[in-house]
Symmetry: C2
Subunit: 329 residues, 2 copies
């Protein structure tokens, strides 16, 4: 049984950490906003795969109380990547391995600056899940985790896969981490981006509007090309098949109903957006590689602006501002 | 003295029609929403070039009461182009010439379908003007009108220029109508488009945000290229100089303060947007010509969507919709 520190006990950290604890691993959660509730009532998960309730949960307010672990699962929002290393450090002994179970591009690289590439993994969770009242998580659909090792060591991936599978988590080892990150971005860039750039819409609105749909497809194709250029630059043989990605992801999205991306949910709830991880970092990488990405850039510019406006750092024009409109240009 | 029918007596029609009436021309205004006020109090213009008050104004609710005129000045919003020909027809005798004093691309062509290219002109008003209370117009700045003939007949342009100059209107004859329309679009596409696509902002927000500014510049360069391809396809020698247009228009915009485009004013006031004239028609022309215009397309998709949402034809996601957010994709 492994000792596992879960840093960031939102829906993702709570759900996967809970499954690992249920399987008998020594799981220690860093819990901040919901600490009292976890302490009093433990962690309750309502899951389409069967509900469970952990009456006693090891939860801590400070990672120094957690101490060194075999594995650290970092499930913070990508917007918190700046503080991640500080929160992980007290749990990272010489042999500790770290999994960034986060959205977007660049999280593993940031963690490697502090802990070294050999110890850092990435996990992509394909799951529909959300927090209910404090200490309660609703697991609604899916659940697969795709993993990769920043150093691309297959043996290291095998150990992580075995750990997750020991808790009944459907786990897939990706060809490599870079490939897995860009493949997920092929969906997140157009759909997370447009869901906010269009002022707050679900996937159905994007698919049903010919111009928005064409914009999404164009952004997806740019993401495939940027990803393949990044793979080539890294000396990887793996490539994303542009036509296959477009056909597959649009077909999958058609079955989702009026699906709400995590970014549009954060936007509607006034939370900070994962703009840099999902859009800014891919855009900057595309620029470094000389890949034309005007639609990705447009989405980044608009989502970044929407985030600033939503958080009150920019003011949008209101009808009341227009007592004397000053233009017919 | 000429007989002039002004179709669409908003700020632009009222202001330029008022100047022509002040100069002694027989000007007949089609006035709808403000008819009673015009009838009772005439037309009052507060202008930086000197105020004037026309106590008796010839205003009519129905163009059939106006009858055939020497000139028709169509100053409707481009959103009303569909009904323009019907409103103009009763004022169009065999010798009547028609001036589309409107925004965007395609208005003259629509009028030519009914009246023939030889009789149709376009006017681009560079003016800061707005309606005050009914029957009152505030002319705040600028005032120049650039004109072109749909048939590119210089002699015909000379007569229109003489008419406008007879009323003291600063008038410039453009190299050709197509050139003048695209040159104005080089500003309208990026700045009108982004002012709404970014949720309602002035020009200052666009210029101060490096990503939004780069988006605007990219969209302006696409507009120059589409315009030059359109000029070439029409056999015109005239060309827009891309570097000159970008340098000049950004320098001018820097001096505007936090300028509000007509489109963002319409958006903030919940009026229909001139999306098709300013974005949709240029985008479709660029596609016909095979000119890559991803940023123009992105602006069209988002502004068209924003217009539908603002007018209640689409619903944007609200925090209240998210009792159970269904995603961490």
């Amino acid at each position: 049984m492994a000792t596992i520190a879960v840093i960031g006990s939102g829906a993702v950290g709570g759900y996967y950490g809970g499954r690992l604890a249920l399987a008998g691993h020594d799981v220690r959660f860093l819990v901040r906003s919901e600490y009292e509730a976890w302490r009093a009532n433990g962690l309750r998960v309502f899951s389409k795969d069967g509900d469970f309730h952990l009456r006693e949960v090891q939860c801590f307010r400070d990672p120094r109380e957690i101490g060194p672990a075999d594995w650290v699962i970092c499930a913070l929002k990508a917007t918190a990547i700046g503080e991640a290393a500080e929160l992980i450090a007290p749990c990272a002994g010489p042999g500790t391995r770290i999994v960034a179970l986060m959205n977007g591009l660049g999280n593993e690289q940031r963690l490697a600056e502090r802990f070294g590439a050999a110890r850092v993994f990435g996990g992509m969770a394909f799951v529909c899940i959300n927090r209910g009242e404090p200490g309660v998580i609703h697991h609604l659909d899916y659940g697969r985790v795709s993993i990769g090792h920043l150093g691309d060591d297959p043996a290291a991936c095998g150990e992580l896969a075995a750990l997750l599978r020991s808790a009944g988590i459907d786990t897939v080892v990706a060809p490599n981490l870079r490939y897995a990150r860009w493949e997920k971005l092929c969906w997140n860039v157009p759909f997370n981006g447009l869901s906010v750039a269009a002022g707050g819409v679900g996937t159905k609105t994007i698919l049903r509007d010919a111009e928005l749909r064409a914009f999404a497809e164009g952004a997806m194709r740019e993401t495939v090309r940027a990803g393949n250029a990044d793979l080539a630059a890294a000396g990887s043989e793996a490539r994303l098949d542009e036509e296959d990605v477009v056909a597959r992801m649009f077909a999958q999205t058609e079955t989702m109903g009026d699906y709400r991306t995590s970014m549009v949910i954060d936007y509607a709830l006034g939370r900070p957006l994962e703009s840099e991880a999902i859009l800014g970092n891919p855009v900057r990488r595309a620029r470094e590689l000389g890949v034309a990405a005007p639609r990705m850039e447009a989405l980044y510019a608009l989502v970044r602006h929407a985030d600033l406006a939503r958080r009150g750092e920019r003011r949008l024009l209101q009808a009341g501002d227009l007592a004397v409109p000053r233009s017919v240009v």
